[in-house]
């Protein structure tokens, strides 16, 4: 009987130990991920109350009357839409300029570094920066409580949130554009098209899966961020309109998101309603898993389109 030469048992002890350690690390990660989902699903199911999803919250010491989390869900959705509306077009434009023009080279390098700085900044630092910005200069875009500018609003939170998503959009779009072979661009020029037309009609459609992936990744980060929400959106659980019920008032208003709602109701917050925190956390987890699912679906369309 012949034994395969490359069987693990024939390896030196050191290699075998590393091999099993790698296995153990992988299995531990699966166990942790599984534990999070199962535990949150279990707790979420335990406190499952369909009505909570459609009820506005209210601050009350009596848990029976403190309402549900309709407003945090709406807040999360609103923040996602607003920050994506800022980050996606801006990120795509930056990535196209960097990949297709990138001149002068010094400016391009500076832009690259700037994107990296933004990507590396902790969200609480972005939040504090946003607070200064919106208190000092852009107070008219924020909620004012009888003349006192607090620097808090959906606009303030969404614009800082967009900075979290921006580097992800830029990175994924650049990668997608770089993966398009040069001869595809040349084919378009050779048909008498300008660079602008080539970008619009050929490169951006080809990069669409990459742009989608980056945007969805960014949305996942935005949905999960707490620091910016607590500092820049305010601690009101209900959405408060900033100006007589208009849409602009809504943008200027304050509110909450699922993350701030979970924080508020967790043992660390003031609400002290862990069962609601658990259910809300489960809903948040579902939202983020859904976004990740969308990412993988989009990324599947990313196979190599052309040979190099």
């Amino acid at each position: 009987m012949t034994k395969p030469i490359d069987s693990v048992s024939s390896w030196p002890l050191r290699d075998r130990a590393a091999f099993y350690a790698a296995w153990a690390a992988g299995i531990a990660l699966i166990a942790i991920a599984g534990a999070i989902v199962v535990y949150m699903a279990f707790r979420g199911a335990q406190y499952f109350d369909f009505g909570l999803l459609f009820e506005s919250p209210s601050a009350s010491l009596n848990q029976a009357t403190s309402g549900g989390f309709k407003d945090p869900i709406v807040g999360t959705a609103l923040l996602l839409i607003m920050s994506t509306a800022i980050a996606a077009p801006l990120g795509v434009v930056i990535a196209v300029w960097l990949t297709e023009y990138g001149r002068p080279a010094g400016l391009a390098r500076a832009v690259e570094s700037a994107v990296e700085v933004v990507a590396g900044t902790p969200s609480i630092v972005l939040a504090m920066f946003g607070l200064i910005l919106f208190q000092e200069w852009f107070g008219f875009l924020t909620f004012d409580a009888e003349g006192a500018v607090l620097g808090r609003s959906f606009i303030a939170a969404a614009s800082m949130m967009s900075l979290i998503a921006l580097p992800l959009v830029v990175g994924a779009t650049r990668e997608a554009l770089n993966s398009i072979p040069g001869h595809v661009r040349e084919a378009s020029y050779a048909l008498g098209k300008t660079k602008a037309a080539t970008i619009r009609r050929v490169l951006l459609p080809a990069a669409r899966p990459g742009i989608g992936t980056g945007t969805a990744l960014g949305m996942g980060r935005v949905a999960g961020d707490t620091a910016i929400v607590v500092v820049l959106l305010g601690s009101t659980l209900q959405i408060l309109n900033g100006a007589n019920g208009s849409v602009f008032g809504l943008f200027r208003g304050t509110g909450s998101t699922l993350t701030s709602y979970v924080y508020y109701n967790s043992p660390a917050g003031e609400g002290l309603a862990p069962e609601k925190a658990y259910f809300a956390a489960f809903v948040l987890l579902l939202v983020v898993i859904l976004l990740n699912f969308v990412v993988t679906r989009i990324a599947r369309g990313k196979e190599e389109l052309w040979p190099r």
Binding site: V184, A187, A190, L191, G192, K193, A197, R201, V202
Partner: protein
Amino acid sequence: MATVTPPPAARDERDVILAPPPPVRRILVDSEPTVVQAPLGNGYATQAGVGLTAPLRRAEPSSAPKVERMRIEGVSIAYGEKLAVDEVSLPVRQGEVLALIGPSGCGKTTLLRSLNRLVEITPTAIRSGTIRLDGDDIDQMEVTALRRRVSMVFQQPNPFPMSVFDNVAYALREQGSGRPGKDALMSQVGDALVRAGLWDEVGATLDHPALRLSGGQQQRLCIARALAARPEVLLLDEPCSALDPRSTQVIEELILKLREEVAVVIVTHNMQQALRIADHVGFMYLGELVEYGLADQVFGAPREQRTREYVGGAFG
């Protein structure tokens, strides 16, 4: 038993190294071994009945009238310090296929890309000399207008990530507002697909994504795309090198048909291909146009030593 002519006597040491391959013994089952001349590598048997080559499929010259479309006059192209094309002059005629052959890096692709001013997108490229299209200096033309008249197909099939229809209509659609609709373009798109010999295969599925087609179909789609704006000159940069033999044959037949209505310039590494489809051949070496002439002459009776060595398979 075949009589064997000995290879021409070597004139100097260089010739000894680069002389045609020596005779080989041919051994057939149940027969005496015979000594025959080795195949010349280009499939062009110089002596009748000699060699192991397959019979040649040599295209008949076109009966269409020859019209000079482009004229290359003393064109030199350098990338920075490096001279890629050195003082080349050539005519490009409708009604025939001009093949540019030569080893890698000899400047044939650079020369081809100068005909639609595509070299200009390489920042370091500098060109001198004049290229005329129907008598007009191409440097004086709007580059987008020039490229509609002098169209190009690349080595790798590269349809755009859109439908078959939109690929062919790509060159027809002007930029900006007022993009013509599908119905307005249908006749031109259909015409281009018919001319590229692809209509029968994709005519019923024009809205399917172009990247789902096979490699050979994709390359013919690229040809259709290049033909849609009714160019006067079609440039082909090794259009078959990424394709299988059957697709190559289909495209070669297509090129022979197209030469009647458009001037065709093809760059190829493949000497057999040049021999099969070219009417005129330009052999380039180290940026120089070493020899230009009718395909039969360049392959059968090359005037220059370097040409003889290259088409004989001694280097390249």
